[in-house]
Amino acid sequence: MFREIAITAFIITLVVLAVHCIAFPANKKRCPFGDALRRWSPVSIFRKIIHLFTLLLLEQKLSLLGVFKKLLFLLALLCFIVLAITGFYPLLVMDKHIYGYFVMVHATFAPIFAICVAILAILWARNHRFNRGDWPLLQRIIERVTLRKWFDRLTIPSGVEGLSAEEAAEKSVSIAQKITFWLIIFLSLPLILSIVSSMFPFFGTYWQEFLLAAHRWTALVFAIIAVIHLYLVIRTQLK
């Protein structure tokens, strides 16, 4: 069942991101929404690819800490890709549990990724904390879901109504980036602990299976959120 759900979830995520990418282009001024032909011309796509690739490079203007942060992010990205491929490929494509060299590569990159996530959590947490400016939008999102009346009483008049639709969209991307960041940090805990605790002789077969399932499901959610986060980061960088 996991296989079917995971494949569906990945497809939905990618489709949603693609639709979002088309519906809300990253740089509207240069690429107006209506001018689809221009935006998706071969030259434009090639330019975007070059642009994306340059994002991986270290700019000279970066400080030493900036260089470190970027390198760390790139390393985490590399580890994430390797872990996702080695973890999901056997399961989703080959319909087998992770085995053989996949396990070895997975287990080799996993601690590096854990280190990267921990350091990024320390370095990026301050930048990704929610501030007063995020509150109205958050409030609106929460209101749509539930507890409208309770939040009515908490409304802070900082003028979300004053934002244009475009500004609201921009703002929501920023908030989404923060949410995904914190979700990544939060999910990394069960993700790591579920597999590490299974390595200790504390849990019997039932709990071993539970931990493995927990690792698998957490990894699925983690991967989807990480992809969304990556998408949002790229969007931000493209601007």
Partner: protein
């Protein structure tokens, strides 16, 4: 008129057919239990087999000639003999019985012709039919009947006239019910005049009676002339010959000539041990008192608590997947999992049967249970850098007289070999050849291993063993010059011996194909120039392996009890142990193969994977350290967020 006769004929035929069917399905007194768990009292008449092979008159102590009782007719009075004879211990010769999981073969050994070859009537790949090396069923019985409970090959009718005559004298080796079911300590399977000796003397008719405490048998049918009639015995002309004669013990006959048999339904383990003992030459000290028994026996169980059967004697062998080939309804719950884990889908709980503890396996990733059989960690001797030589009752005549106790005595069985299981064979016959359906679970299990060594003929890349007599006549003469060691080990075979023997075999017209010699995993043959060549990896040269099930070790003695390093270290015997390659060829006796080669696993992968376990503690420390850092960050910012919310709420107030 004619029409009426036809109708009567048909009716008569149908009524006869129905009566036969009814007879076949008829249950005898002892076929179905009334439910009482108490022991049945067996005070019964003894019946011999008469000269027509039918039921003879009741045996009385003063009868002349005094004949041995026949189990077919004595026990068969109340228990359907034909039903019993379809049981696992007796049905090897039935081509319609699926062989199931590879089992221990009968091993024909003859160091004078450098031969050890696995034989089996069951169609199992890697074994050969006895007739392929020229063994008739009678000869096979004489050689191996010592460790058979009778029946099977022992009851196959001979076809050749001379064999038919001998069969009349010696009788057939009927199922010896007492081999297993005699509760009297006087049951004698292996001593001076016991069952095994009677089989060697071709006293097949007398063997079952001789094995009991009720009678003694002297003489030998083997050397009696063809004219000897055991039903009207005349003293042989040659006074040195002693005809087989039975003497019943005094006072065993009651007034009405009934005899009491101490029969037990629940067979004691010691009875099973006669044929199913294993001796691993782990240490120099191999005495019984220095080795442990199976943990199940120590817990108070007996063999038949798990290996069960009904009147059909279709005993459960107890391996995973057995229900695929067994009709025994208990097959599904008689494996390790059957008692220790139970069927998850069953209506009632089955785990814990017979007091079996449900294993926790703390810290062992579930993938182990997909890749390994239970026995991989729990059965057989603890693996060491090198495999051990093993002896078994059936291969080494353990428990019989004049056994060669030397550790080097042939056949050379090596164990434990952790190998991927070949699967379970369902082999229905098609045009006289087994057509295998292999059900494989691909699990690694400990095995015993035998490297075949024999002379064969290669034709269409298929090797068939050459008749033993032919080998002895031709190749045997060349090998006869070599001295046989007293230890029972191989003679020191050289490439010159092989070359000479192959040339001698090539000159025999009856050898169909190119003469070859199989030994140590290699196929030796002469090329066009007459030079000796060898080929590795020929299917016929591959070792025959059968899984080890016992002795089972407890959890604290199982692989992994000391941690992952028991198997996942770069020198762990489980993957990197050396499997001895046994061969008569003196120059190649030190050869070994790495254990991982039998597991269908890439050796480098196994090593690299084991190597990663060096870093496993680091991985744990790093991962836990990172988790701690992340948790601190989350906690810190969660508290900050909480502070903000509190502040907002305070401002609102």
């Amino acid at each position: 008129m004619k029409k009426g006769l036809k109708v009567i004929g048909v009716l008569l035929y149908l009524s006869a057919a129905f009566s036969v069917t009814a007879q076949a399905g008829e249950k005898l007194l002892g076929d179905v239990s009334d439910g009482s768990r108490a022991a049945s009292h067996h005070l019964i008449y003894l019946y011999p087999e008469n000269q027509d092979g039918k039921k003879g008159s009741k045996i009385a102590p003063d009868a002349k000639p005094l004949l041995p009782f026949s189990t077919r007719w004595t026990c068969g009075e109340c228990h359907s003999y034909n039903t019993i004879s379809s049981g696992w211990h007796f049905n090897a010769v039935d081509a319609n019985v699926p062989p199931g999981r590879p089992a221990q073969p009968w091993i024909y050994v003859d160091p004078t012709i450098a031969t050890q070859i696995p034989l089996f009537y069951r169609p199992l790949p890697g074994t050969y039919k006895p007739e392929q090396i020229g063994l008739t069923s009678r000869r096979f019985t004489k050689l191996f009947g010592r460790h058979m409970p009778g029946g099977g090959a022992g009851e196959l009718a001979s076809k050749e006239p001379e064999q038919v005559v001998r069969e009349y004298i010696s009788g057939k080796l009927e199922i010896n019910c007492m081999t297993c079911h005699n509760g009297n300590p006087g049951q004698d399977q292996g001593s001076v005049d016991g069952y095994a000796v009677q089989v060697v003397r071709e006293n097949f008719r007398w063997a079952a009676a001789a094995s009991t405490e009720l009678a003694a048998v002297r003489g030998s049918a083997e050397f009696m002339p063809d004219t000897y009639d055991p039903f009207m015995p005349e003293p042989p002309e040659n006074k040195r010959l002693v005809p087989p004669t039975i003497t019943y013990k005094e006072n065993i006959f009651e007034e009405d000539n009934k005899v009491f048999f101490d029969i037990v339904r629940k067979v004691p383990a010691e009875r099973c041990y006669f044929c199913h003992s294993n001796l691993y030459l782990v240490e120099k000290e191999t005495e019984k008192w220095s080795t442990d028994e199976d943990v199940h026996l120590m817990a108070g169980l007996t063999c038949v608590d798990c290996h069960r059967n009904g009147i059909g004697h279709n005993i459960t062998r107890g391996y995973e997947g057995e229900p695929n080939v067994s009709t025994n309804p208990l097959a599904a719950i008689s494996s390790c999992e059957g008692c220790h884990l139970g069927e998850k889908s069953s209506a009632g709980p089955e785990a814990g049967r017979l007091g079996a503890p449900v294993p926790k396996h703390p810290g062992i990733p579930p993938v182990h249970f997909e890749k390994l059989s239970c026995t991989a960690c729990h059965s057989g001797p603890w693996p060491a850098k090198n495999t051990y030589l093993a002896k078994t009752s059936r291969a080494h005549r353990l428990g019989t007289i004049n056994v060669n106790k030397s550790p080097d005595a042939l056949p050379h069985i090596v164990a434990p070999v952790f190998a991927r299981q070949r699967g379970i064979y369902k082999a229905p016959y098609y045009l006289g050849r087994p057509v295998y359906t292999v059900i494989t679970d691909g699990k690694i299990a400990p095995h015993k291993l035998l490297w075949p060594a024999f002379w064969g003929a290669l034709k269409d890349n298929d090797v068939k063993p050459v008749d033993l007599e032919l080998v002895k006549q031709s190749a045997g003469k060349i090998l006869a010059k070599e001295k046989l060691p007293l230890s029972g080990d191989w003679p020191k075979l050289t490439t010159e011996h092989i070359t000479g023997a192959l040339k001698a075999l090539a000159s025999e017209k009856s050898v169909e194909g190119k003469p070859v010699y199989i030994a140590g995993g290699k196929l030796y043959f002469l090329d066009e120039t007459g030079k000796l060549n060898q080929e590795e990896n020929h299917p016929a040269a591959q070792p025959y392996m059968w899984p080890i099930a016992h002795d089972v070790r407890p959890a604290a003695q199982s692989l992994g009890a000391r941690g992952c390093g028991d198997c996942h270290s770069t020198d762990a015997p489980f993957f990197f142990g050396s499997v001895a390659v046994d061969t008569p060829i003196a120059a190649e006796r030190q050869a070994v193969k790495e254990m991982v080669g039998f597991q269908d696993i890439d050796a480098f992968y196994a090593w690299a994977f084991a190597f990663t376990f060096v870093f496993r503690p680091w991985l744990k420390v790093i991962a836990l350290g990172c988790c701690a850092l992340i948790a601190v960050v989350l906690l810190l910012y969660a508290l900050k967020a909480l502070a903000s919310v509190v502040k907002v709420l305070a401002e609102r107030d």
